[in-house]
C-alpha cells in the first residue's frame, strides 16, 4: 500500500487529509465512546499509536473493529481531528496489509452483508443472516426470533435482485473489494 519509509501518520494524512499530530490527547473522544468499556484501546489511544508511528500495533489492534462508527468521537473533538475517519482509514490499511484482527463474528457479518449486496444489489436480510451463521459458526443465533419476525412480515424468503446487478459487481471490482 505504501513505501515502508513512510510514516503511518503520513499515510493517514494522504488518505484522509487529517493530520493526526494535531490530537492533543484530551480524551474527550474516548469519554463519549459507547464501546470504550469493551475496548483495550480507545479512540485517543489509536490516535496516539498513529502519531507514534506504531504501524504494526495499530493495524493489528482488535479494538479498531469494535468501533460502531457512531461518530461521537469526531463530533466532540475540540480540534477537528476526526478520530472516526482515522480509525476507518486504519481499518482499511489493516485489511490491505492482511493483518486485520477482526473478531470472527464481526468479520462474518461484514462479509455476509457485502456478499448480499454484490450478488443481489440489495441486502436480503434472511440470506445475510444465513450466510452470517455459516461464516461465524454461530448457527443458533436469533433462531428463536425468526418465527416472530416472519409472523410480523419482517422477513422474506425471496431476495430482491436489482436489474443493474452487473453495475454493482463492476463497482466492487473497481474498488478492489472481494467480500
Amino acid at each position: 500500500m505504501s513505501a515502508p519509509s513512510r510514516t503511518l501518520a503520513a499515510d493517514i494524512l494522504e488518505a484522509t487529509g487529517i493530520n493526526a499530530a494535531t490530537c492533543y490527547q484530551c480524551g474527550k473522544c474516548s469519554a463519549g465512546c459507547p464501546m470504550a468499556s469493551e475496548s483495550d484501546l480507545r479512540p485517543h489511544n489509536v490516535m496516539r499509536l498513529v502519531v507514534q508511528d506504531r504501524r504494526d500495533a495499530a493495524l493489528a489492534e482488535e479494538s479498531i473493529w469494535l468501533c460502531l462508527t457512531c461518530e461521537t468521537c469526531s463530533a466532540r473533538c475540540p480540534n477537528a481531528c476526526d478520530p472516526a475517519r482515522v480509525i476507518d482509514a486504519v481499518r482499511e490499511m489493516s485489511i490491505a496489509a492482511g493483518v486485520a484482527d477482526m473478531p470472527r463474528n464481526i468479520a462474518a457479518f461484514h462479509r455476509a452483508f457485502l456478499e448480499q449486496i454484490r450478488s443481489n444489489g440489495r441486502l436480503h436480510e434472511m440470506g445475510m443472516v444465513m450466510e452470517y451463521k455459516l461464516r461465524s459458526g454461530d448457527l443458533m443465533k436469533d433462531v428463536t426470533n425468526a418465527p416472530g419476525m416472519l409472523s410480523r412480515g419482517k422477513l422474506s424468503f425471496r431476495a430482491e435482485r436489482i436489474q443493474g446487478v452487473v453495475e454493482i459487481k463492476r463497482i466492487f471490482e473497481k474498488c478492489g473489494v472481494t467480500p
Binding site: E38, N105, F109, I117, Y132, M149, I168, V177
Partner: protein
C-alpha cells in the same frame, strides 16, 4: 405539493416495513409525493465504508445518479444509515480531490452530484406547521395530546455535522418539534444522541443490549411513555432486543417510528401505520391514550355545557332582578 425521489433502502423493504408503510400514509396526508427511485441499490451501510472508503462512496453514488437521471433535485432517505451514507457520499464527491472525476467511471453512469439528500425528520419538521393545523382541525380527539415522548436521534441522523447539518449534533430539537406539533410533550432526557449499538445487533448482541438498556432506562426515568425513533437499526435494537430485557422482568417501553407518531396524531388507523409489526406491543399504550383522549374531550364538553348553563342562569337572575 412537494415531490421527492424516495430511497427506501433495504430495511424499509424488510425488517422495518412499518417505517415505509407509515411514511407513505403520512406523506399522502401531508401532500408530499414520493417516487421510489427505480432499480435502487443498497447503500453499503457501515459494512461498506468500514471495509473500503471508495466502496462506501460509490454504492450510494449510483442511487444519487439514478435520482438525478430520473429528474429529481432531492432524495428522501428515511433510514438514518442510508441517509448518512447518501449524504456522506455527496459531501465526499464534492470535497475530495479528484473523486468527482473518478465516480462516473466507477459507477458506469454520468453524475453531476446535483441531488440533495434529506431524512424523514427533516421533512416532517419542515411540515410541522401543517401537522399542527391538521391535528387541530381533526374531528376525532387527538390521542397524543399530553403524552410524554422521548425523541431518540441516535448517531447517524445527526453526526457528523458536516454530513447531516440540519440539526445540532449534541442537542438536536427537530424531532422534539414534531412531537410538539403532534400535541405531545417532549421529554428532556440525557441519551438523545447516544449510540444504540447499530450494526452490532447480530454480531455482538451483548453490546447492543448494554447500550439499549441504558437508553430505555434513561427515557423511563425521565417520564417517557414511549420512545420515538427515525432509524430502523435503532428501532430493532430497542424493540426486538427488548425481548431479552423483558425476560429479566423489565417493564416494556413501546418504540414508535416518528412517522407512526405523526400518523396517530393525524387520526390514521394503527394497522395502516404498521403498529402491529412491533415486538413490544403498542396496543395497550394506544388503547389507553385513545381512552384518555375521549375522556378529556368529554370532560371539556361537559365543562363547556356547565359554564353555558351557569351563564344562562345568571342572565335569568339578572332579568328577574331588573
Amino acid at each position: 405539493m412537494i415531490d421527492v425521489a424516495y430511497y427506501p433502502g433495504c430495511s424499509l423493504h424488510g425488517t422495518s416495513r412499518e417505517f415505509d408503510e407509515s411514511l407513505r400514509a403520512v406523506a399522502a396526508e401531508l401532500g408530499i409525493g414520493l417516487t421510489e427511485i427505480a432499480d435502487w441499490n443498497c447503500c453499503g451501510a457501515s459494512s461498506g465504508h468500514t471495509t473500503d472508503h471508495l466502496l462506501g462512496v460509490a454504492l450510494p453514488a449510483r442511487n444519487l445518479a439514478l435520482a438525478e437521471a430520473q429528474g429529481f433535485g432531492a432524495v428522501l432517505a428515511p433510514c438514518a444509515a442510508c441517509y448518512n451514507r447518501l449524504s456522506a457520499a455527496r459531501l465526499a464527491i464534492a470535497t475530495e480531490d479528484g473523486l468527482a472525476a473518478r465516480i462516473p467511471d466507477i459507477i458506469g453512469r454520468q453524475f453531476a452530484n446535483s441531488v440533495e439528500v434529506h431524512n424523514a425528520v427533516e421533512l416532517l419538521r419542515d411540515a410541522s406547521v401543517t401537522i399542527d393545523e391538521k391535528v387541530a382541525a381533526a374531528l376525532a380527539p387527538n390521542p397524543l395530546e399530553g403524552v410524554k415522548l422521548a425523541a431518540y436521534y441516535g448517531c447517524l441522523l445527526v453526526r457528523p455535522f458536516e454530513v447531516c447539518g440540519y440539526d445540532d449534533p449534541e442537542q438536536p430539537t427537530s424531532m422534539d418539534e414534531i412531537i410538539n406539533a403532534c400535541g405531545a410533550d417532549d421529554v428532556d432526557w440525557d441519551m438523545k444522541v447516544e449510540c444504540c449499538g447499530g450494526a452490532f445487533s447480530v454480531s455482538r448482541t451483548a453490546s447492543v443490549l448494554r447500550l439499549g438498556r441504558a437508553i430505555i432506562d434513561n427515557a423511563r426515568s425521565h417520564g417517557a411513555e414511549a420512545i420515538v425513533v427515525a432509524c430502523p437499526l435503532c428501532h430493532s435494537n430497542l424493540d426486538l432486543r427488548q425481548k431479552a430485557m423483558a425476560a429479566r422482568g423489565e417493564e416494556p417501553m413501546p418504540i414508535l417510528f416518528v412517522t407512526q407518531m405523526v400518523g396517530l396524531a393525524l387520526g390514521l388507523a394503527p394497522v395502516d401505520l404498521g403498529l402491529g409489526r412491533h415486538f413490544v406491543d403498542t396496543e395497550p399504550l394506544i388503547a389507553r391514550l385513545v381512552k384518555q383522549a375521549a375522556e378529556r374531550v368529554a370532560a371539556e364538553k361537559l365543562a363547556k355545557q356547565e359554564a353555558a348553563a351557569k351563564a344562562a342562569a345568571r342572565a335569568e337572575k339578572q332579568k328577574v332582578g331588573a
